[in-house]
Amino acid sequence: MLLVGSFLCIMPGTAVFAQDGAGIDTGITAWMLTSTALVLLMIPGLAMFYGGLVRSKNVLGTMMHSFTAMGIMTVLWVICGYAMCFGPNVLWGWFGWNSEYLLLRGLDEAIMEEGIPEYVFSMFQGKFAIITPAIIAGAFAERVRFKSYCVFIAAWGLLVYNPLCHWVWAEDGYLFNMGADGAIDFAGGTVVHISAGVSGLVAVLYLGARRGFPKSNMPPSNLTMTMIGGGLLWVGWFGFNAGSSVSSGLSTAQALAATQVAAAAGGLAWMIIEGWHQGKATALGFVSGILAGLVAITPAAGVVTPAGALVLGVAATALCYLAILLKNKLGYDDSLDAFGIHGVGGIVGAVLLTFFIRDSWMADAAEAAGGSWTIWQQFGVQVAAVLIAIVYAGVLTYILVVIIEKTMGFRSTPEKEMQGLDIAYHGEHGYGMLNPN
């Protein structure tokens, strides 16, 4: 009888899992698992995007900047990154700490109130910690020592990314609790894009331009690969934004729709602006516009409607286009426009989103504030959060870059830079018999 009884219990498949992991929502878990994989797809996407844009002698070195981030940042994330980001405040809220999270020990059977195993959430968040320093690498592409880069992203992850992530996304982070309902950063406009863009800019201003810049022509080695990489980034971004809802329902759908619209509007706007200004609509331009739109919608995806996403995409592209023109005038060498796209696009998105917040969010915020909450009050919160991210990332990056340059040398020697990163640091060739450039 006992045997039959337990057999009957096991028969309906769900009953087994319900007992095994009570409180798990399989729908949300399934989408979050998918999102986690999608965000990881963005890193090879970024590697291809950046790799295609550099000269043929630097393609592997540049792709390795993204790929090594997957190794270094994942290991650090498991060891202490998750504890620093999502533990309770320590050191007056500078970052979080929970020794239970060391090596993710406390997560083995943990299920979050959203209905997903905490492992899924921690791995999902870990992907953001990978892509952020990988974006910075676009600024100082083609001219840094590989070993120093590895040390830099490890230190940057610990001292810049983890505190920022804690401030914005942890329940007791101070930007999470700023104003009525927190500074709005749905999927990482300040944490990921502004911090990476500004850090790239600061690093470049200190390390200097590539040899021969701007006199020599430095043509992209393979724009086909850049296009594929840009496409993968768009696909992966659905995990980045829609996954950031940590649910599988209405808010997920809202974020997904906004993401699609902003990317398309951004690409289209770039094509039109460039066609009007330069006479030709370039492939690189279109894919840059897609990225500008995606970056701008990242902080906003949870709170804006498709109409707002459309405006954000166009505005981000217009301002990124102007920023790159200005860069060429000023003559600093942000090689692959980490600041021009991610920094500027992130700032545009985080600030302008204020004017397109859906009414229900404002109503909730007003309730939380105890009566009224205006757009301009939220605008103040957004600007404050952006400025905090800019100043914090900028200052810390400057200190890190100076220390690394003075101790181990961040910048390549002129000989290594002329040889190219591929041979100098990896001993390999990216392309076979492709024409030299």
Binding site: G212, E415, M418, A424, M433, P436
Partner: protein, 118 residues
């Protein structure tokens, strides 16, 4: 008129190119080639040492008037050596320079011929 053909290491291309431009030798043709010489480089792929049978090199072709032959050749020699002390030690595999008589040179646009077309 002479045709100077130099086979050099890929890694020295930028160095040679920059030095040539500094000496106002700006009209050059560059291509990737591969071939056999005395050099046997070992490369490591996935931990396995392999000796490639054909080694990738870069070929420069420069047509010059007779007065510029020495300047061009000396510039290439200095910049293409890959040893620690570039003025004296070269390494096996640094390449070769061939100088050949150039019978005629024609600029297509204007149909000029001879030294002024170079």
């Amino acid at each position: 008129m002479k045709l100077i053909t130099a086979i050099i290491r890929e890694t020295q291309l930028d160095m040679v190119h920059e030095r040539l431009i500094e000496n106002e030798i700006t009209r050059i043709t560059v291509s990737r080639v591969s071939g056999h010489g005395q050099q046997r480089t070992e490369e490591v792929y996935r931990g396995k040492k392999v000796v490639p049978s054909l080694i990738p090199k870069v070929k420069l072709e420069i047509a010059v008037n007779d007065d510029f032959v020495d300047l061009t050749v000396n510039t290439i020699i200095k910049a293409a050596k890959s040893g620690e002390n570039r003025s004296t030690d070269g390494l096996i595999g640094d390449g070769k320079i061939f100088i050949t008589q150039l019978e005629e040179c024609i600029r297509i646009r204007t149909e000029e011929r001879g030294p002024s077309a170079i």
